[in-house]
């Protein structure tokens, strides 16, 4: 069945965004189970990312407080605090963010797969 191309018309603004065409009927038990699993997966990868953040970056003040001698070490001629806090921390944050992004999108892709296999026969779209 071919439908006419969807045309965007700017009319009076609506209070709610249009209903998303996702095949979870939110009020069913099944929908809740699916949502629960997606939320747990997303929360789990977020918490793991933040744990790495706090271990890798958040621990530094304590580390230098407990071991003041580290301030004197200077790999590559740059004092360690400046090397860690001024330079290396930024690529670390970016790579950590990229690692999270991939994990989160993977979770969403497998969630979409789950829905598609479950509700065969309904209109489906590639994730």
């Amino acid at each position: 069945m071919t439908e006419p191309q969807r045309v965007r018309v700017t009319g009076p603004p609506r209070r709610r965004p249009a209903v998303r065409r996702v095949d979870v009927d939110e009020d069913t038990r099944l929908g809740e189970v699916y949502l629960g699993s997606l939320m747990r997966a997303q929360l789990s990868i977020a918490v793991r990312t933040l744990a790495v953040l706090f271990l890798g970056v958040g621990s530094l003040p304590l580390l230098f407080w407990l071991a003041p001698g580290l301030v004197h070490t200077a790999p590559f001629g740059v004092p360690l605090p400046w090397l860690l806090l001024g330079v290396l921390v930024y690529p670390f944050l970016f790579l950590l963010g990229r690692w999270y992004l991939r994990g989160a999108e993977r979770n969403e892709a497998s969630y979409a797969d789950l829905l598609r296999t479950d509700s065969s026969g309904s209109e489906d779209e590639a994730p």
Partner: protein, 509 residues
């Protein structure tokens, strides 16, 4: 130190003209109310990330960081780290669900999640408070800069920035401001990158001298005074890591993304853009030490260093460049904040007021009236209150956001049992604790005791307290969990289909 003001005046004029020109050009794309508020939610990640970077890198980043590193050393590196890492926390816990909520402002989100007009009004009050608190040091920094580089009276900076912001917000709204701010990120990056490159080359040419007083305490990554310094450092980490998500101008930007996935990708690009930028200011702070600069205040080191190290016309040109960058920083952050505050004011104050008076004015007119108020109040405040230093002033706004909107967003997105009563008491708790800190800091009361440190850096105890109050009261009022909670959470966490129906934002009811 005498300053030839010509390069600065040329630079400030050029930046102002460029801002207004791009803003007017963007106007051609701004037609609907939706364009004004959220650029019709159609900004792509690359452009949007540049705009976020341009808006976020304020005077505190451009001038404040180098000055703080210069005066206090490595412990101040936590400011830029926190401002960047805040986006990582935002990315992991908030970005995609917030975009999918379909709400436009934080008050919209609160009302939608908790079905409570009361919580909505509380959030509106907080957005305006945080926005004005953040605007204050920007405007004061502008006054300081123009006084130093152009010999202008102190009031010229705030008034000039306020006027340019008003004109660009008036004319183009969010759509045109997106182009302006994307331009201003790259301007700011260039305006630091080129001077840093030249000055480092000069330093190398001089035989790479070491600073004479690179004492151990200056390299210590937290304060010098033992456990209090450690506390202050962790409190700053808590405020910046958790406060970023609650800043009004950061939140609004997320609604300009087409969908949740784009919101995430945008945030990742922002992490890269901020990381590149923040490599630069500490270098200027270090060079300031090496060449024994004596700036008239910490915030003006960046402006004075080029002439100190490079004589003649080259020094003048570099000074003009950093002035342009600094002015771009004042303008972009102030515009972003003005838009966010105007959006809330127009929805919650001006539109109801117009309606009561039976006026037929639409959304755009209300937005313009609101922006007038949103700019004039902080400009007046900047002229009347003493400056607390731009980075420290901004840090207070972060602490306030961390103790109020951070718990609301995290619990609202991830915890099904949040109730309107819990949210309201938690928000009030955060407002009282960090509001006290703001008053104490601005009043200038200092005793250098533990009580003083705990009061002026409240985030480490105030944020957990707000979380605890919000959760405890929610559990005690469990009967009031909104009926639509599960349905709403499904929407927040469900990935969009690839082809999403066109969505128009919630502006009129």
């Amino acid at each position: 130190m005498t300053f030839d003001s010509a390069p600065a005046i040329v630079a400030v004029t050029l930046v102002t003209l460029a801002t207004l020109t791009i803003g007017t050009w963007g106007l051609r794309f701004s037609r609907t109310t939706s364009d004004f508020y959220v650029a019709s939610r159609s900004v792509r990640p690359g452009l949007n990330a540049s705009a976020i970077g341009g808006e976020y890198l304020s005077a505190a980043s451009f001038l404040g960081v180098a000055g703080l590193v210069f005066t206090s050393g490595a412990e101040m590196l936590w400011y830029p780290i926190g401002w960047t890492a805040g986006y990582l926390v935002l990315l992991t816990l908030v970005a995609a669900p917030l975009r999918r909520s379909g709400a436009y402002t934080l008050p919209d989100f609160a009302e939608e999640r908790l079905a409570s007009r009361g919580v909505r009004r509380l959030c509106s009050l907080l957005v305006v408070t945080i926005g004005w608190l953040y605007l204050l040091p920007q405007l004061q920094g502008a006054g300081l800069t123009l006084e130093l580089v152009a010999g202008a009276p102190r009031w010229v900076g705030p008034v000039l920035v306020g006027t340019v912001v008003l004109v660009s917000v008036f004319s183009g709204g969010m759509r045109s401001i997106t182009f302006v701010q994307a331009f201003q990120y790259w301007l700011k990056l260039t305006a630091l990158l080129v001077p840093v490159g030249v000055l480092v080359a000069v330093w190398g040419h001089d035989g790479a001298p070491r600073a004479t007083d690179l004492s151990q305490t200056w390299s210590l990554p937290m304060g010098t005074d033992g456990s209090a310094g450690l506390y202050a450092t962790y409190s700053l980490i808590a405020a910046t890591f958790l406060g970023t998500m609650g800043l009004p101008h950061v939140g609004v930007r997320f609604y300009t993304n087409p969908d949740g996935r784009a919101a995430r990708r945008t945030t990742l690009v922002v992490l890269a853009l901020l990381g590149v930028f923040y490599l630069l200011p500490p270098i200027l702070g270090l060079l300031g030490r090496v060449y024994a600069a004596s700036p008239s205040s910490a915030d003006t080191l960046v402006l004075e260093l080029p002439r100190l190290m490079v004589p003649g016309w080259a020094g003048d040109a570099l000074t003009g460049l950093v002035c342009a960058g600094a002015f771009a920083a004042f303008l972009s952050t102030s515009s972003g904040l003005a838009i966010a505050v105007s959006g809330v004011l127009s929805q919650d104050v001006v539109v109801p007021w117009l309606r009561r008076r039976g006026s037929r004015f639409g959304g755009v007119a209300a937005f313009r009236i609101a922006s007038l108020v949103a700019v004039i109040v902080p400009v007046t405040g900047a002229l009347l209150t003493p400056s607390v230093g731009v980075a420290r002033g901004v840090a207070l706004a972060f602490a306030l956001a961390a103790a109020t909107f951070c718990p609301l967003l995290l619990l609202g997105i991830w915890w099904r049992r949040l109730t309107a009563y819990g949210a309201a008491t938690g928000l009030v708790t955060g407002l009282i604790t960090t509001g006290t800190a703001v008053i104490v800091t601005i009043s200038g009361w200092r005793t250098d005791t533990w009580a003083d440190v705990a009061l002026t850096q409240p985030a480490l105890w105030a944020v957990p307290l707000s979380f605890a109050v919000m959760m405890a009261v929610s559990l005690a009022t469990a009967a009031h969990v909104p009926a639509h909670t599960t349905r709403l959470l499904v929407r927040l966490h469900t990935p969009e289909p690839t082809i999403e129906p066109a969505v128009t934002p919630a502006l009129q009811r």
